[in-house]
């Protein structure tokens, strides 16, 4: 029985090992939440980010729960190596989803964030956490529909119906990458431990969406990226 679960200030933090999620983790800690991080192994080609997630959770002194899921039906280039990761957000040519969504880049993983949040809901209910933190961002992003404010508002509507008092927080949603990096610096995020590149090679590729947003962010913040290619 979980009746003895202490009703403390707990939060589930979705930690991918990248810039945004690590900043959100440090943000949640700063807000005095006792954090449990969730990392998803969904056969992403940049699975090396799990190493970053582990190091970041260790640095922050929080628990990390790794969840393995399988999405055999998706054609996303983030999972399938026969697909090329686009060098820039070249939408028309790289869509991996049916015609009605052809504006989406091939890196889009259908349902991914709903799946992440649903597991976070499960964990939050089970441990009595009141918050789910996710580093979604709708400014310097690839245009994924599951990174927009309205999507999270709708998901909070679902959580309200569950009645467990859980709410999703998206503190970075309206910040640009530069503002996120500045916030991370202020919070003491060890950026050298983060990983952003979609390709998951030995060094960042420097040309995928994720690398490009990161590079512009550091440049505009007047800072040097410790994980440069």
């Amino acid at each position: 029985m979980d009746n003895n679960v202490k009703k403390s200030r707990k939060a589930v933090v979705l930690l991918s090992g990248g810039l945004d999620s690590s900043t959100v983790l440090y943000y949640a800690i700063k807000k005095r939440y006792e954090c449990i991080c969730l990392f998803f192994d969904y056969a992403q080609r940049h699975k090396k980010e799990v190493k970053s997630a582990r190091q970041l959770a260790k640095s922050a002194g929080v628990k990390l729960q790794i969840v393995k899921i399988s999405l055999p039906w998706t054609k996303s280039s983030l999972i399938n190596k026969w697909q090329k990761i686009p060098a820039k957000n070249d939408i028309e040519k790289t869509s991996n989803v049916p015609t009605q969504f052809k504006e989406l880049p091939s890196t889009y993983v259908p349902g991914r964030n709903t799946i992440f949040i649903s597991f976070a809901q499960s964990l939050a209910e089970s441990v009595g956490a009141q918050k789910i933190f996710i580093g979604a961002n709708a400014v310097d992003y690839s245009g994924y529909p599951d990174c927009r404010p309205k999507y999270y508002k709708a998901l909070n509507g679902v959580l309200k119906e569950i009645g467990a008092g859980i709410k999703i927080e998206v503190p970075l949603i309206n910040l640009n990458k530069t503002q996120i990096i500045k916030l991370g610096q202020k919070l003491g995020v060890p950026f050298e431990k983060t990983w952003s590149c979609y390709k998951g090679g030995a060094k960042p590729c420097g040309v995928c969406d994720s690398c490009r947003f990161r590079a512009v962010g550091f440049s505009n913040a007047g800072a040097i990226d410790p994980v440069r290619n």
Copy 2:
């Protein structure tokens, strides 16, 4: 690329192998949807329902996709054998979730239906399906919050924000078990292939919520359950 995915009348059907989901499958087929079924192995103690799901999908001539997930944090009696499955919906004594939800029975699996729907969203987006069918029911049920109409309305709000034209259908939501059985009979559902008991023994236990609702349903429908204990 999925650009060639034909925009046909496709549906993802959540198939647990029970009475309700099998009726929903036959309902969706009757509505002329090309169905792909999703079954979840979440370490439920009545995992033998996968056999029923396989047989039902075969009978109906549709594809079945099995998804394995792990929810190591949940204390639900539907997963953990050290927990007793309640003989009746004895709420106060059997809650498996923190105090704010103590009205829930121990068989409740936190986040389960959100997880199921999120995978269904992923599959539906990937194959270009317009509907997700689920046999949720808010009449003869155990009081789970993720079986109520408002919850599905909220989830449809999330899908709307994804912008993929996918909608969840809950055709049984307001039917009682007797009405569901009568509908299933009309649709030709092979009830002898279904499995409902939470315990997953050689024969149905006859005392868990799921068995009790089923027994009352068949009795009131004036029918004999082919899977009696």
